[in-house]
């Protein structure tokens, strides 16, 4: 029990004490995860919209594929991205392995099916009159698609929030392609894994609390946006 009490106390101490190393870890975690969500969203949002708004042969199968990819293990993603970025891999020449960029890439791969599936679901359940209404009022195809996204904005933001939640909490891919290098690629989750393996449970706990506070702050920001757009 002392573990927990000590962990919570240290967590709060780290939070209010502005420990530079912990804040650097927090900043890197936030940066990597936000960049990964942004990168994934660039492809996932238009794709979810495209699949959701159109009928074509094989659509159901594609939806099943994306729903299956929701269960994609993070270590598998880590393994594939590691294979791509390693010296012998097709992208080895970019020398991205064990850099924050590699972590962004891996986490983007992880967030991509989740955001796609959630945007697809949001767009599919949206009123089917949105796009025709926009078109009859003079919208181009692109403007009509934007109207659909705009009408589904709460669900799209929720999809981005879910994507962020998925990547900021994952450890497998980040540790495999990032390498958990101190002051460079160490994020909250990789640091927690390290502290726990070292037996410093309280420190791990403290970092976990800090991670939750960070996730809460990001979700509060998203919630604020949703309320503003209401």
């Amino acid at each position: 029990m002392d573990f927990f009490v000590g962990g919570v106390a240290r967590g709060l101490h780290l939070l209010v004490g502005f420990d530079p190393e912990v804040y650097a870890i927090a900043w890197l975690s936030l940066r990597v995860s936000l960049a990964a969500v942004a990168l994934a969203a660039l492809a996932a949002v238009p794709l979810g919209l495209l699949i959701g708004q159109n009928e074509f042969p094989g659509k159901r199968l594609l939806v099943v594929v994306f729903n299956t990819l929701l269960a994609l293990p993070t270590v598998v993603v880590g393994l594939v991205v590691y294979g791509l970025l390693s010296h012998r891999g097709p992208l080895g020449g970019l020398e991205l392995l064990y850099t924050p960029s590699a972590m962004v890439l891996a986490q983007a791969v992880l967030a991509f099916p989740l955001i796609t599936a959630l945007v697809l679901a949001a767009v599919t359940t949206l009123d089917s009159r949105v796009a025709p209404t926009a078109l009859t009022l003079g919208a181009t195809r692109f403007q009509a698609a934007w109207a659909v996204l705009s009408e589904a904005r709460f669900a799209v933001l929720a999809a981005l929030a879910a994507g962020f939640g998925r990547v900021i909490t994952e450890v497998g891919a980040a540790i495999m392609v990032g390498g958990n290098i101190r002051h460079y690629t160490r994020t909250f989750t990789t640091a927690i894994a390290l502290e726990t393996s070292k037996g410093d449970f309280a420190q791990g706990m403290a970092l976990g609390i800090f991670l939750l506070v960070l996730a809460l702050a990001v979700n509060l920001a998203i919630h604020h946006l949703q309320m503003r757009w209401r």
Binding site: D127, R129, P132, T133, L135, T136, L137, G138, A139, T140
Partner: protein, 218 residues
């Protein structure tokens, strides 16, 4: 007959192999109001959607102002910006009434000040002068239809297509629709309305066209 705005020649539309519309020849004159009658499933809404360029015919040719619409070569958005459809249960965006009415103007790049003025004028025209800041989704059914009408009128379309404009309307909204539609031909607007409200449709239309099982009844 004056120069037609729309001309249909051998237009056929099928849904899942079932013929929904088959029109050998039909013209709609510029500035004329035409009522399209027929029982449910006669193909009236399909006809309106083809005229609104939302649906492409499977067969046949559609001409707009003398120009053939092929859905492939012609830039549809340019043509659609002259034609506006008000659906039977119009969809209003999850935004304010003013934003809904100004939507089409924004798409056309009309400046903010002019957008506001024109939207307010259109709302006044449909008897909803002070409704601009309200949430569109919180209005009554009749008020929502009037907002949809204002959203179409503000664009000053060459052609206004109305799908069952009098269905489920309260007396006040119905009177507004009738007054507005009656004034459109004088502005050169070609009105095509599909309606079960026979009396109102006949009062407004210079011409009545009947459809049955997708075909014209003469």
């Amino acid at each position: 007959m004056a120069e037609p705005l729309f001309s249909l020649r051998g237009v056929v539309k099928r849904f899942q192999g079932q013929e929904a519309l088959n029109i050998e020849r039909l013209d709609f004159a510029v500035g004329q109001t035409t009522a399209v009658e027929g029982p449910n499933g006669a193909g009236k809404t399909t006809l309106l959607q083809i005229l609104a360029l939302l649906l492409a015919p499977d067969q046949g040719r559609l001409f707009y102002a003398g120009q053939e619409v092929t859905h492939a070569g012609v830039h549809l958005t340019t043509l659609r910006r002259e034609i506006t459809l008000v659906a039977q249960q119009a969809y209003l965006f999850d935004a304010s009434v003013l934003r809904n009415v100004a939507y089409g103007l924004r798409l056309r790049g009309v400046g903010r000040a002019e957008r506001g003025q024109r939207a307010e004028a259109a709302l006044t025209q449909v008897g909803l002068a002070s409704f601009g800041p309200r949430r569109a989704r919180r209005l009554s059914g009749g008020e929502m239809q009037r907002v949809a009408l204002a959203r179409a009128l503000v664009l000053r379309p060459r052609s206004l297509l109305l799908d069952e404009p009098f269905a489920n309307l309260d007396a006040e909204s119905s009177a507004v629709f009738e007054r507005v539609i009656a004034g459109l031909p004088a502005q050169g607007c070609t009105v095509i309305l599909v309606s079960h409200a026979r009396e109102q449709a006949h009062r407004l239309a210079q011409r009545v066209v009947a459809l049955e099982r997708g075909r014209l009844v003469t």
